[in-house]
C-alpha cells in the first residue's frame, strides 16, 4: 500500500514537471555551450538560473523555447519526448520567452507588437482593433506597467521594450512556462518591483517561471530554487532558502573569487592624484524639448559622475545629445576651450568624447565583424604605422590584451561578435570604448549583463584607470554601482537635474527618493 502511494506521488510529481531536459548537449563551432544538462521545470515554482557570462544560460532557455536546436539529448514536455522542438511547438505547449536581446518589431506600435501574430479577430476574420485596444488598456492597468500602447515600439527604450514583452508573455499569450532572460538587467528599481510583483502573481496562478539573472540578491529574493551553471554544466541545484550570497558566489565562480562588499578603489593609493581641478567638460543650459531641460554641470578630470534616474528621465537622451548623436535644441557644451554643440559623433570623438550606447545590438557592435575588429574600431587612428596602414601586429596585441583584461570568453579574437554570449558582447563593447582614449567617457549602463566576477573588475578599471586621464559620466539602472564608484551623483527626474549628491553623503534612501522625484532638503538646486 505504502509503495503504491509513493508511486502515485512519484507520478504526481512527474505531472508537475512541465518541461524536463535529459542529458541535453549543445555544441557550437568553437564551444561546448551545454554538456549533458538535466533540469526540470515545475508548475508554481520560480526557478532561477545563474552563472558567469557564457555559462550557457541563454542556450539552455533557447533550446527550451524552440529557438535553438540541441546537438544531443532529450526534451520531455508534459510526458512527451522530443529530440528538439520548433518554436511553433513550444508556443503550442505554452512556453513563452522574453529574450536577452529584445526582439520587438520596431515599425509596429506597441499594441501591434503585443498581439502579433495572434490578433484578436471578429467574424469574417477581420482584425478587431477596438477589442485589442480595450484589452491592452485593461492589461496595462492591471500590471501597472506604464507604457503608452500607441507609440512605435522602436521608439521605446530597451527596458520598455522588454517590459512590453513581459506584458505579452504574462497577460496575452496563455503561457504555462515563462522564461525571463536577464529581463531585469536594464530595469530601474521601480520597474523591478513591478516585475517582481508580476512574477509572484504568475507563480500563484500555477505558472512555471524560469528566471535568469546576474544579481544574486534578486535570485535569492524571488526564486524558490536556483540552478547554477558553469562552463555548460550544472554545478548545483539548491533551494534558495538554504543559500546565502557567499555560498552562491562560490558556486558561480568556483572558489577562485572572494565575494566581499568593499568600495572599489579605496585601498589603492589613488587618493593623492585625485581632485585635479581641471574641468574637462561643461554643460550649460542644455535643452532638448521633450527629453531634458536646462542641464548644467561641470565634469572634472579624474572624476566619476553618476547619472541616476528613472526610465524616461532623459539619461540616454542627454548622453546622446552631448555625443552629437541626437541634436540638442538649446544650450552648449564646452570641451577644451571651445563652446559648441556637436552635430555628429565623429566630431565628438575627435574632440575627445566617446559614448558607450545603451543598446549594444543596434547601436554598439558590428556583429558580423570579428571581436578584434570591433575592439579596435574606435582606435584605428592610433594603430597606424608610418605609411598610414593598420599595424596588424599592434592591432592583434591590443585586441588580445583587451580580451584578457575584460575576461571576454571567445574561442579566438577572430570570432564573429554575433556568436558571443550577451555578457561577452557587452564586454567587447566596453573594450572598444576603453581603447579609444578620450578625455570624456559617457558610459550608458556599461555593466549591463556582465557577471559578478568581471563586473567588479570593470568598475575597478573605470574608477582607477580611466579616471586617471579623463572625466567619466556613467549611468546605471540601479544605484548600487553608482554608489560603489562615483564621486558625485546627479539625479535626473523628468529631464531635469533634481539633486546632486557627494560621495560622503551617499545615502541610498535619499538617492532613491530623489530618483522618484521627491525634492527635499538634500537637493541643492542649481
Amino acid at each position: 500500500m505504502i509503495k503504491l502511494n509513493e508511486e502515485e506521488k512519484e507520478s504526481n510529481r512527474e505531472n508537475d514537471f512541465i518541461v524536463q531536459f535529459k542529458d541535453v548537449t549543445k555544441i557550437y563551432s568553437g564551444t561546448v555551450a551545454l554538456h549533458k544538462i538535466n533540469i526540470e521545470v515545475k508548475r508554481g515554482e520560480v526557478h532561477g538560473i545563474i552563472g558567469k557570462n557564457g555559462a550557457g544560460k541563454t542556450t539552455l532557455v533557447g533550446i527550451m523555447s524552440g529557438i535553438i536546436d540541441p546537438t544531443e539529448g532529450e526534451i520531455i514536455i508534459k510526458g512527451k519526448k522530443y529530440r528538439s522542438i520548433s518554436r511553433q511547438r513550444a508556443k503550442k505547449e505554452g512556453i513563452s520567452i522574453i529574450p536577452q536581446e529584445s526582439q520587438v518589431i520596431p515599425d509596429l506600435s506597441v499594441v501591434e507588437n503585443i498581439f502579433t501574430p495572434d490578433y484578436i479577430r471578429s467574424w469574417g476574420n477581420f482584425i478587431n482593433w477596438k477589442k485589442m485596444y480595450s484589452k491592452i488598456e485593461k492589461v496595462i492597468d492591471e500590471s501597472q506597467i506604464n507604457i503608452n500602447p500607441y507609440t512605435r515600439a522602436g521608439d521605446l527604450s530597451i527596458s520598455e521594450q522588454q517590459l512590453l514583452l513581459v506584458l505579452k508573455a504574462c497577460f496575452i499569450d496563455n503561457a504555462q512556462v515563462i522564461i525571463f532572460d536577464e529581463v531585469s538587467s536594464s530595469l530601474t528599481k521601480k520597474d523591478e518591483e513591478v516585475l517582481y510583483r508580476i512574477i509572484r502573481e504568475q507563480k500563484k496562478k500555477g505558472k512555471a517561471i524560469l528566471f535568469i539573472s546576474h544579481s544574486m540578491e534578486e535570485i535569492l529574493e524571488i526564486c524558490d530554487l536556483v540552478t547554477i551553471l558553469r562552463d555548460g554544466k550544472v554545478i548545483a541545484k539548491e533551494e534558495c532558502a538554504c543559500l546565502d550570497k557567499d555560498k552562491l558566489s562560490y558556486f558561480i565562480v568556483g572558489g577562485e573569487y572572494n565575494y566581499k562588499e568593499h568600495k572599489v578603489g579605496e585601498e589603492s593609493g589613488r587618493e593623492e592624484e585625485k581632485e585635479s581641478n581641471e574641468i574637462v567638460l561643461s554643460v550649460r543650459n542644455f535643452t532638448k524639448f521633450g527629453a531634458f531641460q536646462n542641464i548644467n554641470f561641470d565634469l572634472k578630470k579624474g572624476e566619476v559622475v553618476g547619472l541616476a534616474g528613472l526610465r524616461g528621465s532623459g539619461r540616454t537622451e542627454l548622453f546622446k545629445a552631448i555625443a552629437g548623436i541626437d541634436l540638442a535644441d538649446k544650450g552648449w557644451i564646452k570641451i577644451g576651450n571651445e563652446e559648441k554643440r556637436f552635430t555628429d559623433p565623429a566630431q565628438a570623438l575627435q574632440n575627445g568624447i566617446v559614448y558607450l550606447p545603451e543598446d549594444r545590438e543596434k547601436e554598439g557592435l558590428i556583429d558580423i565583424l570579428a571581436v578584434r575588429e570591433n575592439l579596435t574600431l574606435s582606435s584605428l587612428p592610433c594603430l597606424l604605422n608610418k605609411v598610414k596602414l593598420i599595424n596588424l601586429e599592434e592591432e592583434k596585441k591590443m585586441a588580445t590584451t583587451l580580451v584578457e583584461r575584460l575576461s571576454i570568453l571567445t574561442p579566438s579574437i577572430e570570432e564573429e561578435v554575433k556568436k558571443l554570449s550577451g555578457g561577452n558582447k557587452q564586454k567587447v563593447l566596453m573594450g572598444k570604448v576603453l581603447s579609444a582614449n578620450p578625455i570624456v567617457y559617457l558610459l550608458d549602463e556599461p555593466t549591463k549583463g556582465i557577471d559578478i566576477s568581471t563586473k567588479k573588475e570593470i568598475l575597478k578599471i573605470i574608477k582607477e584607470e580611466l579616471s586617471r586621464f579623463a572625466g567619466i559620466i556613467m549611468s546605471s539602472p540601479g544605484l548600487e554601482d553608482l554608489i560603489l564608484i562615483c564621486d558625485r551623483i546627479l539625479v535626473l527626474h523628468k529631464g531635469e537635474i533634481v539633486g546632486e549628491f557627494f560621495e560622503d553623503k551617499f545615502k541610498e534612501i535619499d538617492l532613491y527618493r530623489a530618483v522618484q522625484g521627491v525634492r527635499d532638503k538634500f537637493v541643492e538646486n542649481n
Partner: protein, 336 residues
C-alpha cells in the same frame, strides 16, 4: 586546434579558389584546346572588363547597397570622353581623354552616392534610373559606334607586353591586389565593412558612414570607367551597347567571391576568384561549342549556386568544429 582542421578551414575560406582549381583541372583534361598558353592568357584577358565591374559592385555591396548603373557607366564614360576630345573639342590630347573617362565614371558614382546618402533615395531606384538615363544618352549620342580611336587611348585595352600577355591583365591583377590591401590594411577599408555590417553602430562609433558609402559608389563608378576604357581599347571603338547586361554578372562574380549581399563581408582576392571562375566557364563552354545564350543562362544560374555555396560553407565549417569539439570532449570524458 589540429593542423588538419586548420588546413581544412583555410581551404573553406578560399573555397572559390578551390573550385576554380578543380574546374581548371577538369577542363584541362576534357576540353580541347583549353590547356594551352594562349587560351589561358585569353581567359585572363577576357576577365579583365568583368573583373572591374565585379570589384566595383563588391565594394558597394560591402557597404550594404547595390549599384545597377555600372554597366551603363562603362559605355557612358568612354563615350563622352571620346566625343569630347574628338568631335566637340577636336585635337585634345588622348591622355586627357583617358583622364576624362575616369573622371566621368567617378562623377557618376559621386552623384549616385550623394543622392543615396544625403537625399536618402533608395540605392536600387537611384542606380536603376541612372542605368536607364546613361544608356539612353549613349544610344542618342552615339548612333552606332565610334571607330578608330587614338593609339594612346587604346593602349590599356589592347597592348601586349612580354610573353604576349595583355597590359590589361597586369592592370586588373594590380588593381585587385591594391584593393586587397586597402580592405585589409587601411582604416578606410575597415570603415567600409563596418558601415555595411551595422551603419547605425558605425555612425555612433564615430565613423563617417556617409563618406564610406559615397566612396564606395565613387570607386564603383571609377572602376566601371576603367572597364569602359579596357572595352573601348579591345574593340578599338566605343560601341553604344557596350556593357549591356553585364551588371548581373557583376553580382554573380561578387557573390561567388564571398561578398555578403547584406553588407559587411568580402575580400578582393575572393572577388578575383569569382571573376576568373565566370571567365573560365564561358571560355570552356564556348570551346565546347555551347550556344552563347546558354552560356549566359548558366552564368546566371551561378548566382544561385553562389548562394547555396555560402550555406554549404557555413555548414561544413560547423561540422569541422564539431568534430574538433567532440574529440576534445572525448579526451576530457575519459579523464573524469
Amino acid at each position: 586546434m589540429e593542423r588538419r582542421t586548420k588546413v581544412e578551414l583555410f581551404l573553406l575560406d578560399n573555397l572559390i579558389w578551390l573550385i576554380l582549381a578543380g574546374y581548371f583541372l577538369i577542363n584541362a583534361l576534357v576540353t580541347p584546346r583549353f590547356f594551352t598558353y594562349n587560351n589561358i592568357i585569353n581567359i585572363f584577358y577576357h576577365s579583365t572588363i568583368l573583373g572591374m565591374l565585379v570589384l566595383g559592385q563588391g565594394l558597394v555591396l560591402m557597404t550594404g547597397h547595390l549599384d545597377l548603373s555600372i554597366e551603363s557607366t562603362l559605355a557612358f564614360a568612354p563615350g563622352i570622353a571620346i566625343l569630347l576630345t574628338t568631335k566637340w573639342v577636336p585635337g585634345l590630347n588622348p591622355i586627357i581623354a583617358i583622364i576624362l573617362t575616369l573622371l566621368i565614371g567617378a562623377l557618376v558614382g559621386l552623384f549616385n552616392g550623394y543622392c543615396i546618402t544625403r537625399i536618402g533615395i533608395n540605392a536600387f531606384l537611384q542606380t536603376l534610373s541612372m542605368l536607364i538615363i546613361l544608356r539612353g544618352l549613349v544610344l542618342y549620342l552615339i548612333p552606332l559606334a565610334i571607330y578608330g580611336l587614338d593609339e594612346t587611348y587604346i593602349f590599356f585595352g589592347r597592348a601586349r607586353t612580354f610573353g604576349n600577355i595583355p597590359v590589361a591583365v597586369f592592370l586588373m591583377l594590380g588593381i585587385f591586389v591594391l584593393f586587397d590591401f586597402v580592405l585589409k590594411r587601411t582604416p578606410f577599408g575597415r570603415y567600409l565593412l563596418a558601415t555595411g555590417g551595422n551603419a547605425r553602430a558605425s555612425y555612433i562609433s564615430g565613423i563617417n558612414t556617409n563618406k564610406s558609402i559615397i566612396s564606395a559608389f565613387v570607386l564603383a563608378g571609377l572602376l566601371a570607367s576603367v572597364a569602359g576604357l579596357l572595352a573601348a581599347g579591345r574593340q578599338n571603338a566605343v560601341n553604344n551597347t557596350m556593357g549591356d547586361g553585364m551588371v548581373l554578372l557583376s553580382f554573380a562574380g561578387a557573390i561567388l567571391g564571398g561578398v555578403s549581399v547584406s553588407g559587411g563581408k568580402g575580400t578582393s582576392i575572393g572577388m578575383l576568384g569569382g571573376t576568373l571562375f565566370l571567365g573560365m566557364i564561358s571560355n570552356s563552354l564556348t570551346l565546347l561549342g555551347v550556344n552563347v545564350f546558354i552560356v549566359y543562362a548558366l552564368q546566371g544560374l551561378l548566382i544561385f549556386v553562389a548562394l547555396v555555396l555560402d550555406r554549404v560553407k557555413v555548414k561544413a565549417e560547423e561540422l569541422l568544429f564539431r568534430r574538433e569539439m567532440l574529440k576534445k570532449l572525448g579526451i576530457s570524458m575519459k579523464k573524469d
